[in-house]
C-alpha cells in the first residue's frame, strides 16, 4: 500500500533502473507458474523502497513531482524520462508489471465521473477520462479503467500530462509513446491500442475546453492560442502538426533517479 498520499494526486514518478532486470524464470514457461511467488514480493519491495525513500530524508526530491507545475519539468522532459524507463525494461513481462504498479498508484475516479460522456471511445477495455482546466489554464486529468493494464497506461499518461498547458497536451504524439506499448506490438491505431485512443481523447477534449474557455471570455484569445492555431489543425479525428516545430527533448537536471538492484 502506498504510504505517500501526495502521490495519489499526481501519479508517482517513474522508477528508473540503472541495471537491466535479470532474465529470470520468465524465459522458461515450465517454471513460470512459480514466478508469482517470488516476483510479487520483489515488486512490493520496489514499491516499499520508493516509499521509504520518499519519507523524511528526501522530501524535496519527490515532492518535486508532486508540486503543481514544477518549474522546469516540461511535458517533453517527463516523456523522455518515462520512455527511457520503459526502454530499460527489455522483457515485455517487466513492462506489464511496471504498468500494473502504476495502475495501483492511479488516483481514484469518482463514481459520478464514470459516465458515457467520459468514456474513451475506440478501446476494447472501458476507460473513463475526466478532464478539467484549472484556474491557471492548465489541464488536469483523472482516469480509470476496468482493465489494470489500461489503468497503468492512463497512470503514465496522466503523470506526463497532468498540470500541463494545453499546447503541451496537444504536442504529445502517439509515436512518442510507442516505446511504452505493452503487448501490442503493432504501432497502428486499432481498438487494442489504448495509448492512442486515450491520448486522442485527452487532446480532443482539451481543445473543446480551450474553445469553451475562449468563448467564455468573450472571444478574446489568449496569446498561446494563436501559436496553437498555427501548430495544429484537426484532421480526420486527430491533431496534426501543420508547421515544423522543434521539440526540445533535452533533460533538465531532475532528482528523480532511483538506483535499484533486484
Amino acid at each position: 500500500m502506498n504510504t505517500s498520499s501526495s502521490f495519489k494526486v499526481f501519479a508517482s514518478p517513474p522508477l528508473i533502473f540503472s541495471s537491466r532486470p535479470p532474465k529470470s524464470a520468465s524465459q522458461n514457461p515450465r517454471f513460470s507458474y512459480q514466478l508469482p511467488r517470488s516476483c510479487p514480493k520483489s515488486i512490493r519491495c520496489m514499491r516499499d523502497s520508493v516509499n521509504l525513500r520518499s519519507s523524511p530524508n528526501a522530501p524535496s526530491a519527490l515532492s518535486f513531482a508532486t508540486v503543481e507545475a514544477p518549474l522546469g519539468t516540461k511535458t517533453s522532459d517527463k516523456l523522455r524520462i518515462l520512455v527511457s524507463e520503459f526502454r530499460s525494461l527489455t522483457e515485455p513481462i517487466d513492462r506489464v508489471k511496471r504498468l500494473l504498479n502504476y495502475a495501483a498508484d492511479l488516483a481514484p475516479l469518482d463514481d459520478t465521473a464514470r459516465v458515457s460522456a467520459n468514456r474513451v471511445t475506440g478501446c476494447t477495455t472501458q476507460v473513463w477520462l475526466e478532464i478539467k482546466m484549472d484556474e491557471f489554464g492548465r489541464m488536469r486529468f483523472k482516469a480509470d479503467s476496468d482493465s489494470e493494464i489500461s489503468k497503468g497506461f492512463c497512470s503514465c499518461l496522466i503523470w506526463i500530462l497532468d498540470g500541463a498547458k494545453p499546447e503541451e497536451v496537444m504536442g504529445l504524439r502517439s509515436e512518442d509513446l510507442s516505446e511504452m506499448n505493452v503487448g501490442v506490438h503493432g504501432k497502428e491505431q486499432s481498438r487494442v491500442n489504448t495509448w492512442q485512443n486515450v491520448l486522442m481523447s485527452m487532446q480532443k477534449r482539451t481543445m473543446s475546453l480551450v474553445d469553451a474557455d475562449v468563448a467564455h471570455r468573450g472571444g478574446e484569445r489568449p496569446p498561446h492560442h494563436h501559436k496553437h492555431d498555427l501548430l495544429f489543425k484537426y484532421v480526420n479525428g486527430s491533431y496534426m502538426e501543420s508547421s515544423k516545430v522543434h521539440h526540445d527533448y533535452s533533460i533538465s537536471l531532475l532528482p528523480l533517479y532511483y538506483d535499484f538492484t533486484i
Binding site: S32, V96, T124, V182
Partner: protein
C-alpha cells in the same frame, strides 16, 4: 451423404514440379490423377486410418508450419481459430502455383493461361458446391467474405422484398455482420428487426423464435454455431417454421462449415454464408449459397464488369447468377486456394474433424470449468448438447484484455479478448468483454493443457497485485 467432397479432375499443371515441397501422398496423388476421380477416403495414407493412437491434431500439425514457432520466448499455442484459421501448406502452394504458373484474368480471355485460370476458378466453385451439397455450382456466389455475402442478400434481396412493417427475425447472439446490414436495410425499407433472447441454458430461445415467426416475418437470419456461446441452433426446424409462413432463412455458417458436415439440402436454408479464412482457406474470399430461383429473382448488388450482359449508355442488362453478383475481377487465386482447402479438409473427412473437435472441446470445457472463478458462457455440454470447440469466459476480477495480454507475453498463448463482434450478446450477458479460446483440428490436448496452466498462472499473477 458423408459430406466428403470427391476430388474432381484438374488439368495437368503447366509445370509438373510446381508443387515442390512436402511430398506427401496427397500432392503426388493429385498430380498423377488428372483424369480420374478419387474417393477422398482412400487417397492419403498420412491422415486417414493409419494409427489410432496418434490424435488427429498431432498428425496434421506438420502441415501447418506457422504453428511451429516461438512467441515472446514460449512455444506458440494458437487458440484463436474462430477468428481465423491457419492454412496448411497445400493451400499456400495452390495460391503460389496459381500466381507462378497460370495467373490470368478469368472469363475474359481466350488464350491458354486465361482458359486454365477460368477452369480452375470454376472448379473451385464446384468444390464449394459439393462441400455443402448444393444442387448446382451456379448456386455459389463468390464474395470477399461472409460479411459481404450477408450484405449482398440485404441490399439485393432485402431492398427489393422488405416493405414497411415486415419483420426480420434475429437472435441477440448474432455476429455484427448479421445485425448491422439488416439495420441499414430496415432503415431504408421500414422493416422491423425482432430479436430473440437466450433461455436459461444460455442458448437462443428457439421456442420464443417459433412464436415470433408470424405471417409478417419475411426473413429469419440466424447463426448455425455461435462464435461466443458455442451453441448450435436447430436450423432444419427453424426453416420449417419460417417456410410455413413464407419467410426466407439465411444461415450464418461461419463457425459450422469449417467444423462439421453442413448439407444445405438437409437444412433447406434459402441462403447460407461462410468465409474461407475460417476453414483453412485464404482471406479475401467467401461465398453465398442461394437457391437458384431466389438468386434468379434478385437484382445486382455491385455494378461493373462481369455481371453485365450488354451495356449501353443509358442502361444495361445483367448476367445470370452467379455472375450477376460477382462484379469485377474476383479473387481468383484465393478461390482456387479455397478449393485446395476444401480438398484438404475432405481428405481428412468432416465427420472425423467434427468428432475430434467435440472431444477436444469437451476436454477444454472440462479443464476450464474446473478452475475457480471462471465463468464460461453458453450451454453445458451433455449427451444432447454438443458445444462447438470454443469457450468464451471471464475470470472474476480480471479484465479479459489483461488476461490475454499476460497469456501472450508470458506464455505465448494466443486467445481473443473483447466482444468478438457480438456486443448485443455481451450487453445481454451483462459484461463488456470476454476472453475466448477456440480450437481447430490442428490443436491438441497438450495445447489445452498449456493454456490451462498458463491461465492459472495468469490469475495468480494478477491476484498477487491486489
Amino acid at each position: 451423404m458423408e459430406g466428403v467432397a470427391m476430388k474432381l479432375p484438374s488439368f495437368k499443371s503447366l509445370a509438373p514440379n510446381a508443387i515442390s515441397i512436402g511430398h506427401r501422398s496427397f500432392s503426388r496423388v493429385r498430380r498423377s490423377s488428372s483424369l480420374s476421380v478419387f474417393s477422398a477416403a482412400s487417397s492419403s495414407a498420412t491422415v486417414a486410418t493409419s494409427s489410432e493412437s496418434v490424435s488427429l491434431g498431432h498428425r496434421v500439425r506438420k502441415d501447418f508450419r506457422i504453428l511451429h514457432q516461438e512467441v515472446n520466448g514460449s512455444k506458440l499455442v494458437y487458440l484463436d481459430s474462430a477468428a481465423t484459421s491457419q492454412k496448411p501448406s497445400v493451400v499456400l502452394e495452390a495460391l503460389q502455383n496459381y500466381y507462378e504458373f497460370y495467373n490470368s484474368n478469368v472469363h475474359r480471355g481466350i488464350h491458354y493461361l486465361s482458359a486454365k485460370a477460368t477452369d480452375e476458378f470454376e472448379l473451385a466453385r464446384k468444390k464449394v458446391a459439393r462441400f455443402i451439397n448444393a444442387s448446382d455450382s451456379k448456386e455459389i456466389v463468390f464474395t470477399r467474405n461472409a460479411t459481404e455475402a450477408i450484405n449482398l442478400v440485404a441490399y439485393s434481396w432485402g431492398l427489393l422484398n422488405l416493405k414497411p412493417g415486415d419483420e426480420v427475425s434475429l437472435t441477440v447472439a448474432e455476429h455484427h455482420s448479421c445485425i448491422v446490414p439488416w439495420q441499414l436495410v430496415s432503415e431504408k425499407t421500414g422493416a422491423v428487426l425482432k430479436y430473440v433472447m437466450l433461455n436459461e441454458d444460455e442458448v437462443p430461445d428457439v421456442d420464443k423464435l417459433r412464436e415470433m415467426i408470424s405471417p409478417k416475418t419475411k426473413l429469419v437470419a440466424v447463426h448455425h454455431v455461435s462464435n461466443v456461446l458455442a451453441s448450435c441452433l436447430p436450423i432444419e426446424e427453424i426453416v420449417v417454421c419460417a417456410h410455413n409462413v413464407g419467410a426466407k432463412v439465411l444461415v450464418d455458417a461461419c463457425q459450422s462449415v469449417p467444423h462439421m458436415v453442413v448439407d444445405v439440402q438437409k437444412l433447406n436454408a434459402d441462403f447460407l454464408v461462410a468465409s474461407s479464412h475460417k476453414m483453412c482457406g485464404p482471406t479475401g474470399i467467401g461465398f453465398l449459397y442461394g437457391k437458384s430461383d431466389l438468386l434468379q429473382s434478385m437484382p445486382p448488388f455491385l455494378g461493373g464488369g462481369e455481371m453485365i450482359s450488354d451495356v449501353f449508355l443509358d442502361h444495361s442488362t445483367y448476367a445470370e447468377p452467379p455472375s450477376r453478383f460477382e462484379a469485377g475481377t474476383p479473387a481468383i487465386g484465393e478461390a482456387i486456394a479455397l478449393g485446395a482447402a476444401i480438398d484438404y479438409l475432405s481428405e481428412i473427412g468432416m465427420p472425423k474433424i467434427h468428432e475430434y473437435e467435440v472431444e477436444l472441446g469437451k476436454y477444454l470445457y472440462g479443464k476450464l470449468s474446473a478452475l475457480p472463478d471462471v465463468r464460461i458462457y453458453g450451454p453445458r455440454p451433455s449427451e444432447s448438447v454438443h458445444r462447438g470447440a470454443l469457450c468464451s469466459f471471464n475470470v472474476e476480477g480480471l479484465h479479459p484484455t489483461d488476461l490475454a495480454t499476460f497469456l501472450d507475453q508470458q506464455h505465448g498463448v494466443a486467445i481473443r479478448s473483447g466482444h468478438h463482434c457480438a456486443q448485443p450478446l455481451h450487453r445481454y450477458l451483462g459484461v463488456n468483454a470476454s476472453a475466448r479460446a477456440s480450437l481447430y483440428f490442428y490443436n491438441t490436448k497438450e495445447d489445452v493443457d498449456s493454456f490451462v496452466v498458463a491461465l492459472a498462472d495468469t490469475v495468480s499473477f494478477f491476484n498477487s497485485f491486489k
